[in-house]
Amino acid sequence: MPAEIYLNVAASGLLTGLVYGLMALGLSVIFGVVRVVNFAHGEMMTVAMYLTLVLFGALQLDPLVLLVPIAAVLFVFGYLLQRALINPFINRPEHSQFMLLVAVALILVNLQLLVFGPDAKGIRTPYSFDSFQLGPLVVDASKVYAAGAALVVAAALFAFFRYTLIGKAIRACADNYEGARVVGLDVKRLYALTFGLGAACVGAAGAMLMAVIDVTPAIGPAYTLLAFVIVITGGLGSMPGALLGGLLIGVTEALGGVLFTPSAKSMFAFGLLVLVLLFRPQGILGRKTA
């Protein structure tokens, strides 16, 4: 019996981990190309979650459908944020970029607090209480759908970077800034596109998470930290690394929650982060030069 509990918890952690992975993928893509650490990442995700909440209330559409327009809105938001605020900071020192994004995060969190109040809010889909049974495994339907959608979005992003011309141009900027400029790429526009794509990832992840957890303004900073832990564990700037990191952290937290007390679960995530930073600072799948 206990073995089955652990198996179930691990499976559930794995599914949540995929959504975490998609969120972290956004952070990783932004850092990998623009070289700016998005300290407002979790706050951007709660923006997406509140959008889901409002649109779900107004239109009664499934979060899995809503994730498309929400990802689009976040894309525009990210694009404009990069163009208007972050571009002038590209060559400024790290602490200066950090302050800029902390200010953005502060504004986002408190605007959410202002509009929606501090209470937790959730949505209930028709399948909120459904579950799938697979032998001894029982998993929530919402988590399965969310994880499936996360995989689809991540695959689309991989394909975009691999096969489209713009995707290749963005990778060129990441590999060699000077070189990209020499061959005439509009680096600023590509950076803004990348930031938009990263924001779209976190937007999609937010829409999906809304089917699984409740939202409060306060979870934004917590998810920013979680995204850091994930991308550094997996390898900052590595796309498969972000997904792998998400899975690892999802399972670690879930198992840590049952093995010890649930309130101590993120301690395991941070413990894992410290170990990775010390013994493989570039992350599990990161490149040495990252």
Partner: protein, 333 residues
């Protein structure tokens, strides 16, 4: 010694400093209790900002986890007082030792394994978060239900046990802030200070000239941690309650570094100017919104965020360097 400290300091700057110090000394005599506690808060942030500045401003190591040292320092002294009735003046040695050790451990791990830049910053957050959750489950200091210090009435000030009025804490904090200022001034003119700035500007060049990067980075971290721990001790005895959820929180780390960044990283006066501006701004906004009848949570922080954004965008070096030029103080201090 004193003559050496004063050497080369512009006369005008010295006069201004003396005037400022005189003002701060007599300020509580004619200020209301509210203003005195505000003054305490400004001096508190000036002090921790100065301590953080040693690591970031002087030696170039970005720490986003200084709440770890505030929290450890606060908990060590408070727990010794609550459990054994030990005076904070004795307890502070435990605080300093603990924080110096924690700083040394983090520094050792990071610098030995070559963790730098963004990664170092996130490592410091990770340790602070680790401590936050750990202390939530640490029964000896009452875990997440919080550690409370017995509150006596403010009839008389007991300096030995740090039980007393905000006025007493104000003067204590003033002494600490002034001490930190002088210490940092001396450090900047010492060999260590020059090594730090060499490391900050170019680690490779400094190493090529024979500066031991590891040793001087370690000195910066340990010193900064030890100084920050004292702020924690005062924090514990001023507020009389400690919650891991609050004291170790990342927002606390960010709060304490805003001052020196807004004021001007790496400058002596920056942390003080930043603390004054930010605390004044936060309180002023609160008062203004209260007067306007806008009492919605979040409004104040949104304004705060916008002001921060504007300063970061338009005054990248902080407020102090241009202000110093305007005042005719050309030197960076």
């Amino acid at each position: 010694m004193i003559a050496r400290l004063l050497e080369g300091v512009p006369r005008r700057g010295l006069a201004m400093l003396a005037a400022l110090l005189a003002f701060l000394l007599v300020f509580p005599a004619f200020a209301s209790g509210y203003l005195v506690s505000l003054g305490f808060l400004i001096l508190y942030f000036a002090y921790v900002g100065q301590a953080w500045n040693i690591m970031m401003g002087f030696a170039g190591q970005l720490s986003l986890g200084h709440s770890l040292y505030v929290g450890l320092g606060a908990y060590a002294a408070a727990a010794l007082y609550v459990h054994f009735g030990l005076s904070p003046w004795i307890g502070l040695f435990a605080s300093i030792a603990l924080c110096a050790l924690a700083g040394a451990a983090i520094g050792f791990l990071a610098f030995r394994f070559g963790v730098a830049g963004v990664y170092f910053a996130i490592l410091t957050i990770a340790f602070a978060e680790f401590a936050r959750i750990g202390f939530d489950h640490f029964a000896w200091v009452r875990g997440s239900s919080g550690l409370f210090l017995p509150v006596a009435n403010y009839a008389e000030n007991d300096l030995w046990n740090l039980r007393g009025s905000p006025r007493m804490f104000y003067y204590l904090m003033l002494g600490m802030a002034a001490g930190a200022f002088v210490l940092c001034h001396a450090l900047l003119r010492s060999r260590v200070g020059y090594y730090w700035r060499a490391i900050r500007e170019s680690p490779e060049a400094a190493q090529a000239l024979g500066v031991n990067l590891f040793r001087y980075r370690m000195i910066a971290v340990v010193l900064s941690a030890a100084m920050t721990s004292l702020a924690g001790v005062v924090f514990a005895f001023y507020y009389n309650n400690l919650f891991p959820e609050q004291i170790f929180h990342v927002s606390r780390s960010i709060e304490l570094i805003l001052g020196p960044i807004i004021g001007g990283i790496g400058t002596l006066v920056g942390p003080l100017v930043g603390a004054l501006l930010l605390t004044g701004l936060a309180e002023g906004l609160g008062e203004l919104l209260l007067a306007l009848g806008v009492d919605v949570p979040g409004v104040k922080q949104v304004f705060y965020g916008v002001c921060l954004l504007l300063v970061v965008m338009f005054l990248p070096d902080g407020v102090w360097p241009p202000l110093a030029r305007a005042l005719g103080l050309n030197r960076k201090g």
